[in-house]
Amino acid sequence: MRMKSLERYTDNPEFEYATSGHRACQGCAEILALRLGLKVFGRDSIIAMATGCMEIISTPLPTTSWRLPWIHVAFENAAAVASGIESGIGILMDKGKIARKDINVIAIAGDGGTSDIGLQALSGAMERGHNFTYICVDNEAYMNTGIQRSSSTPFGAMTTTSPPGKKSMGQATQKKNMPKIAAAHNIPYVATACPSYPFDFLAKIKKAKATKGPAYIHVLSVCPTGWRIPSDQAIHYGRLAVRTGMFPLYEVENGRYRITYSPEPLRPVSEYIKGQGRFRHLTEDLIAEIQDHVNHDWQDLKNHSEMK
């Protein structure tokens, strides 16, 4: 993408807040999402990041990939740390100790740090109404620790802790619907996004940035390493996830659902599943089961949405 095309979203499209030299895997869509997204947030931002891929690839002492104030504390508490930051800068502004201006507080965590171990801290921070944006970069497993399943791993996927075998077909549970959980907190802005649709993603970051109160963005971040796909296929599989309805793009603004990109007619899920090593063991029956589930969820989303 030519950086000039980002001018609608940022006044400094060339500036990199996530710099090169990080240790992300080839084809990683998470770092791509953050690289683009941070351009929209801009310099007046503070990041609280959970332990995970993005943390571990970016900050081996004494180096850093971040040209923004950045803090990492632990795995399960990015939202709590962000709460402290937002409260801290707020009181220091109130007391005149630092100049008053809008500073974006951004919490970033993976799917494990969000939908599993970090869910309580996130729920607390959303309920308290802190003025911050929470970005979940969802690569659908604990990739950093060696591809273990999370509650965000899709049905049927092979991981090191949901291996297929004589008595197993891989992940036996459905992907936890984190955006719906976030929306249930009645926060002003919730969105799903995928860097394969960069302008949709950037528009949502821009909205989150402008939101007063909590904003939650759930970013499907294709992981070639964990999904067992070639490293040049991350964008392609992100597109297929959206076009098959496996990962719909929508937003929930003040409680109103809106599908931001309609892929109808949906492509069959087999187009998405076949070719990914993590689904290699799936039978046609199981793929049909996944198709039924996607059809149901897509209809459910359309029923919720204004775009019917």
Binding site: P62, H72, I91
Partner: protein, 393 residues
């Protein structure tokens, strides 16, 4: 000038935090909790204290939010007890490793199971090596003064470490005591606003909480260890300044009747007031017992303890925690280390007492004294290494 009031010690602790002009408070009412955070919430709600009060959803998030707030440069305070301290255990290490001068009132209480909301030192002894500077208080006045001093110590550029002010649950936290409160203007003079070295701010981006490869981890932890070791001088300096400015004397190690006595007790916290009563009663009967009380516990004031104990014959270490399978209680083990590494010829005895709020009367302490002075090295019935005061087997 100051004002003296009768007040519950928990409430007094929150008044001390207000006098220190805390700017961020994150707290969670885990069972058991105290009035400390309740009263702070009231002070903020009434506009008497200008601070951010974060009603977090757990103690883990309480300490996490404190880390975030402190990293922005806000003066940060919290309080916890028992299960809450265990829940925040992970982040206690991170707060000290990141060198953030958070101050916490730790109301020491027993750990489940069985569930007990009453006082002992099970919680703090499980957290004793988290890299926080730690003091123990014997009464409400010390709690108030220690909280004010804690910010000055923690925020000192030579220290930059979090600090815990320990006070016993119930026997201190829930009692009403006469307490002298320093005037705000005097506290302001003693404790200027926090001037942080690094903060999270867009004008000067810094990375905090990076990870270390094996080539650097040891060095990072070594420099942190040097900081806590060297903090002893700052603690002493601040205590001396406090003594000069407010007229109440504080020392790293406090002693009572140690000049004449060959036998001394050593303990932490509010039990020391009962030990002093026992010492006075023994004195009337012509018997001499001394007391060494550690006000500073981390860093361990080894030289100061040694100075008092080097001429003593019998040292009795009393502690409010079960050893959990260790040979002895944790304080005894440190004393044994001190004795051996300095070649002292002394009889060391260990007693466990006061678990889960069990009262220990001065008479029982006098019995311990009689038992120790009338024999050589004690061998206890069920466990030869330590006795448990008042236990029914």
């Amino acid at each position: 000038m100051s004002t003296k009031k009768g007040m519950e010690v928990s409430i007094a602790a929150s008044v001390a935090a207000k006098l220190a002009r805390v700017e961020a408070i994150a707290a969670y009412p885990i069972t058991p909790q105290t009035h400390i955070v309740e009263h702070l919430a009231e002070l903020v709600a009434n506009g008497e204290l200008e601070a951010a009060y974060i009603n977090v959803e757990s103690e883990h998030s309480a300490m996490s939010a404190c880390v975030g707030a402190s990293a922005t440069g806000a003066r940060t305070f919290t309080s916890t007890s028992s299960q809450g301290m265990e829940l925040m255990h992970e982040i206690l290490f991170i707060a000290s490793g990141m060198r953030l001068p958070i101050v916490m009132a730790a109301v020491n209480r027993a750990l489940s199971s069985p569930l007990s909301i009453w006082g002992d030192h099970s919680d703090i002894m499980a957290a004793r090596d988290t890299g926080w500077v730690m003091v123990f208080c014997e009464n409400g006045q010390e709690v108030v003064d220690s909280i004010i001093m804690a910010f000055k110590i923690a925020e000192d550029r030579r220290v930059l470490l979090p600090m815990m002010v320990n006070l016993d649950g119930f026997s201190l936290s829930h009692v009403i005591e006469p307490i002298e409160f320093p005037l705000q203007e005097d506290v302001d003079r003693f404790l200027p606003p926090y001037n942080p070295l690094y903060t999270l701010h867009p004008d000067k981006p810094v990375t905090m909480g990076a990870y270390a490869m094996p080539e650097l981890y040891t060095e990072a932890k070594y420099s942190q260890e040097m900081a806590i070791r060297n903090s002893k001088d700052v603690v002493k300096e601040v205590m001396d300044q406090f003594s000069r400015e407010f007229g109440r004397t504080y020392n790293l190690v406090e002693t009572y009747n140690t000049e004449k006595a060959d036998t001394v007790f050593m303990a932490l916290g509010s039990i020391n007031e009962n030990i002093k009563t026992a010492i006075d009663s023994l004195k009337e009967a012509g018997k001499e017992l001394g007391l060494v009380s550690l006000r500073l516990f981390r860093p361990f004031p080894d030289a100061e303890v040694l100075e008092v104990l080097k001429t003593k014959k019998k040292i009795v270490v009393l502690e409010r925690v079960m050893p959990g399978g260790a040979m002895n209680g944790p304080l005894f083990n440190e004393m044994a280390s001190l004795v051996v590494s300095n070649g002292l010829s002394v009889q060391l005895e260990n007693f466990i007492f006061g678990l889960g709020g069990r009262d220990v009367e001065p008479e029982e302490l006098m019995e311990v004294y009689e038992q120790v002075v009338s024999s050589g090295k004690l061998s206890h019935a069920d466990n030869k290494n330590y006795g448990v005061i008042g236990v029914r087997s």
